[in-house]
Each structure stands twice: as structure tokens, then as C-alpha cells.
Amino acid sequence: MASTPLPAEWRDFFALTKPRVMSLVVFTGLAGLLAAPGTIHPVLGFTAVLCIAMGAGGAAALNQWWEADIDAKMKRTAGRPLPQGRLRRQDARDFGMLLAGASVFVMLVAIHWLAAVVLAFSIFYYAVIYTMWLKPRTPQNIVIGGGAGAFPPLIGWIAVTGEITAMPLLLFAIIFIWTPPHFWALALFVKTDYAEAGIPMMPVVAGEKSTRRQVLAYAVLLFAISLLPWVIGGTGMIYGIAALVLSALFVALSVPVGLRMAQPEDRMQPEKRLFGYSVIYLFALFTALVADRMVLS
């Protein structure tokens, strides 16, 4: 890695927070906050979502600090600030620690202690349990990493209610179960260099056939889990019907992915279709959840 005498640009620090991932974090965190029973002052609601975003940004910076050597070996990540030498490694670590610490502190003093505890655990989960410990050791890394992305709606919900109940845990479960088919659909059609970087990704370790079967299995599981908020009476008809239709389509698009094998010169249309739909699915499902709450209240 090259080092530069010039100070890093603020844009490089911003890039450390993985802004594209953060948009999904902000959206699901806000959805959890808006779907929770009860009210929160708009200023406190904004602060809670800001803390969730800052925590996610801090965890992302710590992830890149730890994985700078791995990122340098892969085309997709080689352009990041650390592998490019645009930023000193210890600056990325300090920036990540500052963001993470500030997010938990503000959540603690301004919102609720339980929201701060869960936020702190989510940062620890992503930066330490996932990034440092399990990602380099198991092909289940995406399943485990999905847990990190599943925390925002749980934290948003707790920010309003101050307690953990079945509903926010189900929102957590939905994102947790959604992540593997979402990512593995992508991994099937994008040839990555995880193997060269020493990361045991599922398609490389277990093979294409096993990965495809698991995509389908998770899609069926997602269908069941996504309906549970409605089944237990936590939501109304709007969410129930939306979950039924959206998840049925998710399974329908997963069937061809799960049952076929790629041919030579394959354009991988079913996999691309499933990946594209999976992003729309999550946005649509959480939008339906919020719409349902708005109508109910």
C-alpha cells in the first residue's frame, strides 16, 4: 500500500461509511421507527435514525480498516480509499471508533438506553463477530453478516417503544433470512475473486448446485417469516396482503434459480431477475409495513 504525505480528502472518509449500504440501513431503521406503536418527537426520531446511520458508518469504516489487505486483492474493492493509499489505515480505525462511539453515546443520552445497548451490540457484531472472526472462517459468512444488516429496524422500533417484543424481532428475522438469497443470487452471476482473497464464499466452497438449493430454501423460509407479523396480529391487512403477494413472487423467481444449472455462455437472466427483485422486495415490504401502521393509527 502506498502512503501519501497529503491529508486525506473528506470524501475518502465519507466513502469509508459505505453510503450505498447506509441508504438501506436508514430506510429500514426509519421504517422500524415509523411502524412501531407509539409516537416519538420528530427531532428525537431524526436523532435516532442519525445514530443508526452513524453506527453503521462506523462499523463499515472498522470493517475496511480490518480488511484493507483483502480489499486490495479484489477488483470490486481495490478502488476503496485504503487499498488506494488515499487514507492512512489508523485514520480509518480512529474514524470508525469515533463514529461508533458517538452514535452509541448520543443514542444513550438522547433516546433510550436499550436502543443504545442494541446499537452498540450491532456495531460489535458487524465489526468483530462478523468481520474479524467469522467472515474468513465459514461459508455461512453471508448468513451471519445478514444479522448485522437486520438490526436497524429493531433499533428504530426500540427507540420508540423502549422494549423488545415479537414484532421487531420478526422485522429482524425478515432481513436476516432475506440476505442469503439476495447476496447468493448476485454471487451466482458476478464472478468474484473472494477465493483468491481467502474468503470462503458459499458458491466457491459448497458449489453452484448447493448454493442454488439454499437460495430456494431461504426464499420459502422468507415467505413464512414475512407473513408472521400479520399472523400474530402485529399488522393489518395492508401488510398481510403485500407480504403474501411480494413473498410469493420472491419464491416464484427463486424456483428457476434453485432448480437449474448455468450453461456455457449463460446470460444468467433468472439470477439477475431475482437479485433485482430482492432489492425492490425489501423496500416494498417495509413501505407496506409503514403504510399499514399509518392506516391503523
Binding site: 497529503l6 491529508p7 480528502e9 427531532v43 438522547a110
Partner: protein, 41 residues
């Protein structure tokens, strides 16, 4: 450091200082608003 590098050094430092200043000002306003809201609870 060449003159060009020095110009670039100053430009980057100025931009970073501006961004840090804006972020800090944002937090001052946010904490003021949080305090007002919390006092009304």
C-alpha cells in the same frame, strides 16, 4: 513538498476543516433541539 503539492495540501486541509466545522455546527443545533424537546417532556 513542491509548490503544487503545497497548494493541494492547503486545499485538502481547508475542505476538511470546512466539513468538520459544518458537522460540529450541525451537532450543536441538534443538541440544542434535543434539549428543548427533552425539557418539554
Amino acid at each position: 513538498m513542491t509548490p503544487e503539492e503545497e497548494v493541494e495540501f492547503k486545499r485538502r486541509r481547508r475542505q476538511r476543516n470546512n466539513v468538520i466545522g459544518l458537522v460540529l455546527a450541525g451537532f450543536v443545533i441538534l443538541f440544542y433541539l434535543i434539549t428543548i424537546v427533552r425539557m418539554g417532556d
